[in-house]
């Protein structure tokens, strides 16, 4: 019998290896510092899982969980916080919702992926009953990007106002001031002065990232789609913006193709950190990249509103974002929604968004509060008055039209449009935009 025992035992080992292989591969990984045990010793704490693709949000929700348990000792929540890489998280979530098992209770979804989750029978819970009472205090357009057919499915994290970053050291060397730039025409004139005095280019232009092109067309009241969701990528205004970027490089000689081509590339960080260019146009969340990856520029950069296309025009655009949603697999949907309202929609939580994440909170009635004037690592890097500048441009932000083709539009711009027109020069702006728009229309 002992042989039978050994055979059975070894089979068991093999099976357990195979099975454990599956579970560690396909299942979730717990972020080492994200394993929060914030319950207050109450044993009835409702367990909830939260997924995010941005490690910083773990700290934010950990803090919210702690505050919730203090405020609601009768209904404690034990939040399990897990962070994954961007692609992994969205792909895992898609499959979990498709197959009906394994999804978290609460999840962060990035705005460019959000449309993927609004197709078929929507597997996210509508949040209208927690959003509608508060919506008047918010920048409303930030909810619309996470909504469909009058239902809201995501709670926003920030306004994502786009701004201009200027290297004041280079400006001083050339004897000019960032405050003299009001319009994009001024931008060219000042850029020429800087180029002739210091030899440095004014603006690095990304050919694999769309965070310059997108805000700039939004400033012009244009978009990739109109409000009905029809493709307008190849309209006249977008063509003009692309032509403007082209002219900066090849006509005015003050733009330069960004090394690496993408705003998260090591080459670009190194180039910018060495004072390679005098300015940068990006959404305000890019400030955290400066702080983390370009330490040599600390104290040298200032953040200003973007130049406008014409005097009095919009000086910003709302870009990027993360919508926090409740899935229909949540163990207690009502509790999850209440917690989400507490964590992202309340006044207190919006102050925390600035304190912990450095973002411009989407709730505008907190923008005057003194907590948002206190120094933090961003004011240490970029100087004081940061938040007042962001407040000054809050009314100059157009809403975006997000459709199910948004993920593909972004890819087409980042692979073909910018590359072919600006780097390879194989297509004119009109041709490249037309080709991309036609491909979108054929889907």
């Amino acid at each position: 019998m002992s042989r039978l025992f050994y055979l059975g035992f070894s089979m068991l080992l093999v099976i357990s290896i195979v099975l454990s292989g599956c579970s560690s591969g396909g299942d979730k990984k717990v972020n080492s510092n994200g394993n929060s045990e914030a319950s207050n010793g109450t044993n009835k704490a409702q367990e909830m899982t939260f997924w995010t693709f941005q490690g910083l949000h773990i700290d934010f929700f950990e803090d919210a969980n702690k505050r919730w348990n203090e405020a609601n000792p009768d209904r404690p929540i034990k939040l399990k916080l897990e962070s994954f890489p961007y692609d992994d998280m969205h792909n895992n979530l898609l499959l979990a919702l498709q197959s009906g098992v394994g999804a978290p209770d609460i999840v962060d979804i990035e705005v460019n992926r959000f449309p993927n989750f609004l197709q078929g029978d929507i597997q996210l819970e509508p949040l209208n009953d927690i959003i509608e009472p508060e919506i008047d205090s918010f920048v409303k357009s930030r909810f619309e990007v996470y909504g469909k057919d009058g239902q809201y499915y995501g709670a926003p994290t920030h306004v994502g106002a786009s701004v201009a970053f200027y290297n004041k050291e280079i400006f001083e060397e050339a004897g000019v001031s960032p405050d003299d730039i009001k319009t994009y025409d001024d931008f060219i004139e000042i850029g020429k002065v800087i180029k002739s005095k210091t030899g440095k280019p004014m603006l690095p232009i990304f050919t694999n990232g769309f965070w310059e092109f997108y805000p700039m067309i939004s400033q012009k009241d244009s978009d990739f789609f109109n409000s009905k969701g029809e493709v307008t990528l190849d309209n006249k205004k977008n063509e003009e913006v692309l032509q403007y970027l082209y002219d900066l490089i090849y006509k005015h000689d003050i733009g330069v193709l960004a090394p690496g081509g993408h705003h998260e590339d090591e080459e670009f960080f190194a180039f910018m950190n060495d004072g390679g260019a005098a300015s940068l146009i990006m959404p305000s969340w890019y400030a955290s990249r400066f702080v983390s990856y370009m330490p040599d520029l600390a104290g040298k950069m200032v953040i200003k509103p973007m130049p406008a296309w014409k005097e009095g025009g919009n000086r910003s655009a709302g870009m990027g974002g993360t919508g926090t949603a409740v899935t229909n697999q949540a163990k207690d949907v009502e509790l999850a929604k209440e917690f989400l309202a507490f964590a992202k929609l309340s006044k207190e939580s919006n102050i925390k968004i600035y304190e912990l994440l450095g973002f411009d909170p989407p709730r505008h009635d907190v923008w005057d509060s003194p907590e948002l004037r206190e120094p933090n690592e961003f004011t240490a890097y970029f100087g004081d008055g940061l938040f007042d500048m962001l407040m000054g441009i809050k009314d100059e932000i157009n809403p975006l039209n997000i459709t199910k083709l948004t993920p593909m539009t972004r890819d087409l711009i980042e692979t073909n449009v910018l590359h072919n027109t600006l780097r390879e020069k194989t297509q004119t702006p009109a041709e490249a935009l037309k080709q991309a728009a036609d491909e979108l229309r054929s889907r």
Binding site: L4, D87, G120, I122, N208, E267, D411, T415
Partner: protein, 316 residues
């Protein structure tokens, strides 16, 4: 199965009741044993290969959204005829071609050099060539990416400028990106293929070479008429795995550009599948790409085995 239940010992005593219990005889059953031994394979095959493959084929005829799955006939396949798919197919085929061109002759030559008696420190060199295959493609790829960065101070560009050449935007250009991808794959797989060839070389009987020497054959003739024919089974094997590895390539492209590369110069078939299925939530279309890839690889594999004469005469 024993016919009688009694055993007769040498001395003639009959031992009663030496009966194999049904359980035990089942355990020692020779008819059952083979099935027990292949059971783990069958379980894995049906669970992890057959089921997913057949389900993928079904899914390739469906439009799949949460709660709304419907059959749409050949629509997913009709959508394959687009420039992006052609680009992915072109990139993948070119990549496979180059890996075959490099990863068969070079490891063969290295194996022969490392197999000669005159070579010193053989084990050291074998280890050196083999070690890259133990690293992960992603880790090695990140180092490659930094070495071939655009800046003039990066390793590759400072090397070029030392010889007076201009610096190159390695990742931005189709040809140089292909060079990087093939280079990364070659660097990693050289050692593995060399080990295959070394094993093959060590199986060639020494007498063959001695006989040839007596007949006055020179080194080239020995290589041409003994080494090459004896290595044919190994070569065909290496060719097959290189072909398959080339068509399912994903990581080598992913590490340089992830999915979106300028002008899609780094897009492979598997990358395209990944992009459509997971980034655009088109699981049905992704399945159609997967099935097409399977068909392409099956046809190429069949042609290749036919040409090398493996399907008809069992490998010789």
């Amino acid at each position: 199965m024993r016919q009688d239940s009694n055993l007769i010992t040498k001395s003639g005593n009959v031992l009663k009741n030496v009966v194999y219990s049904p359980k035990k005889s089942l355990f020692y059953s020779q008819r059952l044993a083979p099935y027990v031994f292949i059971a783990p394979f069958l379980v894995i095959f049906f669970g992890f290969y057959f089921y997913p493959v057949s389900y993928t084929i079904i899914m390739s005829f469906q439009e799949i959204l949460p709660g709304q799955i419907r059959f749409i006939g050949f629509d997913n396949y009709a959508r394959l005829f687009n420039p992006t798919f052609y680009k992915a197919l072109y990139n993948t085929t070119l990549y496979t071609f180059w890996t075959i061109v490099i990863l068969i002759p070079l490891p063969l030559i290295m194996a022969i050099i490392l197999n000669t008696k005159k070579m010193k420190a053989k084990t050291f060199f074998r280890a050196c060539i083999f070690i890259p295959s133990l690293t992960s493609t992603i880790v090695a790829g990140v180092i490659f990416r930094l070495m071939f960065a655009e800046t003039e101070t990066a390793f590759a560009n400072s090397f070029l400028s030392f010889f007076g050449f201009d610096s190159v935007n390695w990742k931005q250009n189709g040809a140089t990106l292909m060079f990087l991808m093939v280079g990364l794959a070659s660097w990693r797989w050289m050692g593995v293929n060399m080990i295959y060839f070394l094993t093959g070389l060590q199986n060639i009987p020494k007498e063959m070479y001695e006989a040839a020497e007596i007949d006055g054959a020179n080194a080239f003739n020995k290589f041409r008429h003994i080494t090459i024919p004896f290595l044919k089974p190994v070569t065909v094997y290496v060719l097959t795995i290189t072909l398959f590895a080339g068509y399912k390539m994903f990581e080598e492209a992913y590490v340089f550009w992830e999915i979106n590369s300028p002008g899609n110069i780094g897009l492979t078939l598997v990358g395209y599948l990944y992009k459509e299925a997971f980034q655009y939530n088109q699981l049905g279309f992704g399945s159609a790409i997967g099935v097409t890839l399977l068909v392409i690889v099956a046809i190429l594999g069949f042609i290749q085995l036919k040409l090398t004469g493996f399907s008809s005469n069992g490998g010789k």
